[in-house]
Symmetry: D2
Subunit: 304 residues, 4 copies
Amino acid sequence: MNYDQILQEIYQEIQPYAGQGEPAAYIPDLLKVNPDRYGICLHTLDGQDFAMGDCDERFAIQSISKVFALAMGFARLNDRLWQRIGVEPSGNAFNSIFQLELEHGIPRNPLINAGALVMTDILLSVLEYPEREYLAFVRSLCGCDSIQYDESMAASERDNGYLNAAIVNMLKYYGNIENDVERVLRFYFRQCSVKMNCRELSRAFLPFADHTRAFSFDGTELTTSQVKRINAIMQTCGFYDEAGEFSYLVGLPGKSGVGGGIAAICPRQYSVAVWSPRLNKKGNSVMGLKALELLTTKTAVSIF
Amino acid sequence: MNYDQILQEIYQEIQPYAGQGEPAAYIPDLLKVNPDRYGICLHTLDGQDFAMGDCDERFAIQSISKVFALAMGFARLNDRLWQRIGVEPSGNAFNSIFQLELEHGIPRNPLINAGALVMTDILLSVLEYPEREYLAFVRSLCGCDSIQYDESMAASERDNGYLNAAIVNMLKYYGNIENDVERVLRFYFRQCSVKMNCRELSRAFLPFADHTRAFSFDGTELTTSQVKRINAIMQTCGFYDEAGEFSYLVGLPGKSGVGGGIAAICPRQYSVAVWSPRLNKKGNSVMGLKALELLTTKTAVSIF
Amino acid sequence: MNYDQILQEIYQEIQPYAGQGEPAAYIPDLLKVNPDRYGICLHTLDGQDFAMGDCDERFAIQSISKVFALAMGFARLNDRLWQRIGVEPSGNAFNSIFQLELEHGIPRNPLINAGALVMTDILLSVLEYPEREYLAFVRSLCGCDSIQYDESMAASERDNGYLNAAIVNMLKYYGNIENDVERVLRFYFRQCSVKMNCRELSRAFLPFADHTRAFSFDGTELTTSQVKRINAIMQTCGFYDEAGEFSYLVGLPGKSGVGGGIAAICPRQYSVAVWSPRLNKKGNSVMGLKALELLTTKTAVSIF
Amino acid sequence: MNYDQILQEIYQEIQPYAGQGEPAAYIPDLLKVNPDRYGICLHTLDGQDFAMGDCDERFAIQSISKVFALAMGFARLNDRLWQRIGVEPSGNAFNSIFQLELEHGIPRNPLINAGALVMTDILLSVLEYPEREYLAFVRSLCGCDSIQYDESMAASERDNGYLNAAIVNMLKYYGNIENDVERVLRFYFRQCSVKMNCRELSRAFLPFADHTRAFSFDGTELTTSQVKRINAIMQTCGFYDEAGEFSYLVGLPGKSGVGGGIAAICPRQYSVAVWSPRLNKKGNSVMGLKALELLTTKTAVSIF
């Protein structure tokens, strides 16, 4: 497969989408980023990598961080995890708390905010130094020690994060949060604030595409079966209420963030990260979605 | 892959689940079936087939029929289809009509009842002899001319199908049904009443797993891209509000029916049909689900 | 109280509201009526009556008919009625069926469509000649033998009544309808089609305001306590999701219909009927609501 | 009316209900109270008062405090109040936040928690010394300077008030809270913690029943029309999702609290307060409800 040429073609063909959509406005720090950035990077299992565009500029990974938290928690609790979080798609906007009320505090899956808040609570309970270990895991995945929390963004998100504060209080009301709500919120927003560039993010997702090597990073160990299950959850739940659309158009497990990033994997083939800050109405990167759709069309390889 | 041995092992390992669950009670005709039947059949792309258990007894395919309707409608309307039906998982029980109210009569996807009723309405509008052509398509897929509607079951389901009558009236209220509601209901229940055995059903799904040969059956033609998209929809929406669980445990696109059947495919590898009438609380076959979970575990091949 | 002068003043003061709102468009026959009609009639307990405007033109009472059905059913089942229907306000638009799903087929109260359909089912079960007896009861209440169903309107409403068909099928699904759904719908729409003028409607409501004389009309007998309870239900549930607003602004038990009519009572004082076809967005008569607000302001008498 | 004898008879007739229900368990301090207390006190407009049972023991008024906050806010904002809060019954349990999500942060009415939290926010914005002025208003209404907040109960409720914390964060998210969420919660729970006995509470509600004297207490002035409107809101919204039932059985405007108190008024006749800590499943006092039902039955006077 000539990935260099494919990334080149994709770049040409997504130009008509440049300028469409708006960056997320509810996190002030995100508005400081140039909204017209576009970068894509792809790592294959045989050790090659291909990049195009703004691949060296870091951005806040936001909800993509939920995949890392899921991996850490799943490795430690295994299937006991599912007593506190489901694996079903939410079928509603990413911030809906109606479902929490109907289902008495059990979030639908680990990739919506409610689920990630419970996962954060779990990490606070099982890890000795949660913030430090989370960062160490991410650094280990992408092989880069300079990955950091953006403390200023995390603090600003906490100050304005009323919806997540509502959700975590609801969860606590239903008995599904063990730690202090403020402690949970602080850690959650720090995870969201982690900054990575497309090269680092693609590299960090490569182990999720690789069933040949053991998944073992800084104390987080997953079996092949567990890695596949994380893939399955990304496939059905990774794009808020656009998960079906992504599955329909792209056909890869993945996760998006409101910072404009999307990471996805083609099992046994490659991992890919794309970034472009302008979002559609459902909160997913306009150019990012289109780029991945073109990628699976041009390679004629998806999971289906 | 020694599928014969795998089916044998599966048969042994699912015995502890025998007798668990209950057959669907709301369709009287389904209760006449021996609830302890179990059959499985698998067709590979290279032309082999493997069977085990009650593979020659026909059962009502019920909701599995929605996949055939989707194929027929998608072939004819292509992407215009999505103006009337979505592709997102429903995130609710299979019979919820709350979502219809919230979303003004646009069903979430073609594999829930509301979506299949709209699809039925579409087929009534675009086909000249809808009932005859539907049956011809299914016969052509499995290469068996004796496939029939069970008219008595269809009539009985219509007589007691108050929930589907409620749904189709809601859809009509929102302007998403063109034909007479009674006409739509009659055709819908006839599709559900189609009887096939595991061999025939597995055979009928093989073309959805095969991207090398053209999909062309009795006038219904689908491109490779369209076939993949039907796979994607089965993957995210095929198991009511257990779609995530199925994806998590099995990792194959598929569709279940309350008659106890499940059909699934492993793209580029095989199709499989399993049947056992006892259902779990979400309406999916207990032994069927377990058999497919064991199948992907033992073959170590899934889409992830 | 000089009611003549008050009705006169009201007439002057509501002129600025003339032309506001639109008549109900979903029932074709309602659009044949001159939308700028306005009539009001008031009957006092001491036997006087006062009228103003278009008081002799009959209109379809539509949902006001639900009060008559409630009286007939309550008289016959007494408190057993509440096993099948609640007495709580619905807190949602008049056509919501989400609540039915959440509450498993028990309508919130007898004055929303779902409740009235159950009430209609009850009347079909307990009355020998339901249509004839219903009409006889209404005629007896207002002392006028020429009150009739508008059969053409009833038939036309049935033909287009998809939402009510959805509701009655839902109710049947939950086991809360004993009779054939089509039979229930036909009788329900006949009740809605009853035509009365303001004089007749006001006269028909007078017995609900009168606790001194026995309530006994053509076989329907209610105790004082039952009459008060019907008042209480009208007070909390009579105006769809504008019941609180009506209670806040007017402070009288009453019931509105999409034909533009409103009937209300001031217990121990008077009954009143007002009619004007232009409706606000919640389906209540614009001039009718304003007239009643002015009435309780000018008389300084309400239930509060 | 011989109220002494009526209260005596009520006392006899409610004995079969003694021991039914449970006191609210989610507020630890409420469990310290003897659950078998029962007291009732009634004040007539002509200056008499009648009492029976445990009328001198103070209890936490809890949600009854919402009526006082409504009076203070309504007096100051008049109809501008309704831009931020509705007047419709909620039709759901007292703690539902689904409605907030559907209606974008506008609470249904001022007597549910969400509405009272917005009202608390309003008082924080318009009053100079909110806590002090609130207490002064309540003291002025009942003519007793020893009324106090129970600071310990307020603090304990805040510590465990996750649901209210969720609600106020939701409201803030939708822009309907101006002040700091913690500040709002603290003041809200202090209002709930106010302790009064039946004599004081009945006395405090008397001005809401009296349309002959000006409503003017410590700077809070309401017109007769405003007082009637508060009555109307109590009538339709005062008992969570049992408002219709209370209206049906009792027929008086009123408000209950989870401390077991209920205050109600019969306009132009009397005010009444009853207290008994055991609650039914909807959170209203079992013996209190029954006592008020007997009161309006025996006096044969209600608003209907």
